[in-house]
Symmetry: C2
Subunit: 258 residues, 2 copies
DNA sequence: ATCTATTTGTACGTATGTATT
DNA sequence: AAATACATACGTACAAATAGA
C-alpha cells in the first residue's frame, strides 16, 4: 500500500480533502496500481489503522466512502473484511440519477437521445441474439398483448414495455450504449406516468407500440439491421409523441442502488 | 425528520443495509420529502445523534456516504454543519467513470455514440450561442491553429481539441445530452493517447480537424443547423478514423471528482 | 449444536482543529 | 484576542455476525 500522502488519482482537485477522503483516494489508487480485481481482499481494519497511522473511525469512514461509490463491499466475521467490488449497474444508475435530480430533465430531453440511440442499438443487435434472448423479449411482450382495461393497467403495461428496452440494453455489445439506454428507461419508469390520467384510452397507440416490438423481434431474429433500425425509430417517434402529450413530469426522487 | 426505520427511497433493494447506510437513505428521502434545495442546512451532528438515537460515529459515517455521492457538503466552525449540495458534473463523471473502470470500453464504443450525439448537439446549438460563447470557442481553437512540432505537442493539442467539445457540451440545452458529451470527452482525454507514438505526423488530419471546428463555429453563428450537423458528423468520422488507427487503449484508472 | 476465533459494527468520552463573531 | 459553535480525530470497550472446529 502506498503511503498516506498519495492524495488523489489526479492532481485536478486542489482542494483539501478530509482525512477519510484522502485514505479513500489512496486505497483507490492502490487498487489501480496493484491491478486488483473484483473479489480481491483489502487489508483489514487493524492493518489499515497501522499502515495509515490513523484511528479506527477515520478508516471506517474511508471505507464507507468507497462503499457508497460501489467500489468495495464489506463483510463481518472470519474471512470477512473489505473486498474490491465491481460497481453494479443499479448503483451507477442511482449515482447518475442523483446528478439529474437537481436538473430538470424533461421527457423531451430524454427522447431526443432515445430517438437516435435506440435505433442504433437495434441495428447492432440484429442477428446477434441467442434463441434464449429472443424468447425473453417475446415473453416480455406477452405481458401486454392484451389491451389495458383501465388506467392502472395501462400504467403497468407502460412500465413493462420499458422493461423491453432494458432487456435489449442488457444485450448490448457496447456497454456505454447499453448503460445509457437502460438508464433512460429507468428514468422513464420512475416518471409519475400520467399524473393526470387522460381518460381517452388510446387503443391505436397501444396497438402500434406492441406491433412495433413484435416486428422488431422478427427483424432481430432475421438479422435485418436496417429494418430493425427503422422499426425502432418509428417506435421511438410514436412513444415520444405519446409521452410528450402526457406532459409527464419527471418525478424528483433519488433512485435506489444496491 | 422521518424515523430511522425509513429504509430506502424504494423497496427495490431487499438487502440489509448497514446502519450508516440506513441513516443516509433516511436523510435522502427526508431531503426529497421536505423538498430541500442545495444550500439548505441539515441538522447538526448532535441533533442527528439524538433524533436517530445513534452514536456519533454512525452518524458521521452516514454523512460521509452522502458526501461521497456528492449530495452534501460539510463545513466546520460556527454556522457550519452539513448542507444539501447539488451533485457537481465532475463528481457525476467520476462516479460514472468508476462503473466503466471494470468494463473494457473501447474507443470504438465511445465513437459509436459520439457519431450520433455530437451532430445532434451541434444542430441544437446553431443560432443559440451568445457572442461570448462563440468567442470562447474561437479562443479554444486558437490553442491549436499551428501544426504541432512534436509528439508531445500533438498530444496536448489533442486534449485541447477535446476541450472544444466539452465547451460545446456545457452550452447544451439538453442537460442529459450535454453531460454525456462532456463525459465522453473526459474519457477520451484520459486515454493514454498514443501509447505507441506513431511517428508520421499527419498534417492532413490535423488540418481537417481544425478546419472542421472553424467551419462549425461559422455555421453555429449563422444559425445553420443542418450545416452544423453535417460538419460535426464529418468531424466525428475523421476523428474516429484517427483514434481507431492509433489503437488507443482506455487507461484504467479512477477519475477525480470534486 | 455449541463453542471459539476473527473481523466488522456500535458506543462513548475526550481532545483537537477550524471558522465565525 | 477571546469566546463560541461546530466538525474532526483518537482510543478504548464492547456488541454482533459469521465461518470453522
Amino acid at each position: 500500500m502506498p503511503p498516506a500522502t498519495t492524495r488523489s488519482t489526479r492532481d485536478a482537485a486542489p482542494q483539501r480533502l478530509s482525512r477519510p477522503a484522502q485514505v479513500a483516494e489512496a486505497i483507490k489508487s492502490w487498487v489501480v496500481e496493484a491491478n486488483m480485481k473484483p473479489g480481491d481482499r483489502l487489508p483489514n481494519e487493524l492493518e489499515m489503522i497501522e499502515r495509515f497511522g490513523m484511528a479506527k473511525g477515520t478508516i471506517r469512514e474511508a471505507m464507507r466512502i468507497l462503499e457508497a461509490q460501489g467500489l468495495v463491499k464489506t463483510r463481518t466475521g472470519p474471512g470477512g473484511g473489505s473486498f474490491v467490488h465491481e460497481v453494479s449497474e443499479a448503483r451507477a444508475r442511482a449515482l447518475l440519477g442523483n446528478y439529474f435530480y437537481f436538473k430538470d430533465l424533461t421527457v423531451t430531453d430524454i427522447y431526443q437521445l432515445r430517438l437516435v440511440l435506440e435505433p442504433e442499438l437495434a441495428a447492432d443487435l440484429a442477428g446477434q441474439l441467442s434463441a434464449d434472448q429472443l424468447a425473453a423479449l417475446e415473453a416480455n411482450v406477452a405481458r401486454y398483448v392484451t389491451p389495458p382495461k383501465d388506467a392502472e393497467e395501462e400504467r403497468q403495461q407502460h412500465i413493462a414495455s420499458l422493461d423491453f428496452h432494458k432487456l435489449l440494453a442488457s444485450y448490448a455489445g457496447n456497454e456505454l450504449l447499453g448503460f445509457l439506454i437502460g438508464f433512460m428507461a429507468q428514468m422513464l419508469s420512475d416518471l409519475t406516468v400520467m399524473r393526470r390520467l387522460y381518460e381517452p384510452r388510446n387503443y391505436e397507440l397501444w396497438k402500434m407500440g406492441t406491433d412495433h416490438q413484435i416486428e422488431l423481434i422478427t427483424a432481430l431474429r432475421l438479422g435485418d439491421g436496417p429494418r430493425a433500425r427503422a422499426i425502432m425509430r418509428e417506435h421511438m417517434e410514436a412513444a415520444q409523441a405519446f409521452m410528450v402529450r402526457q406532459e409527464a413530469e419527471m418525478e424528483r426522487r433519488f433512485l435506489a442502488g444496491r
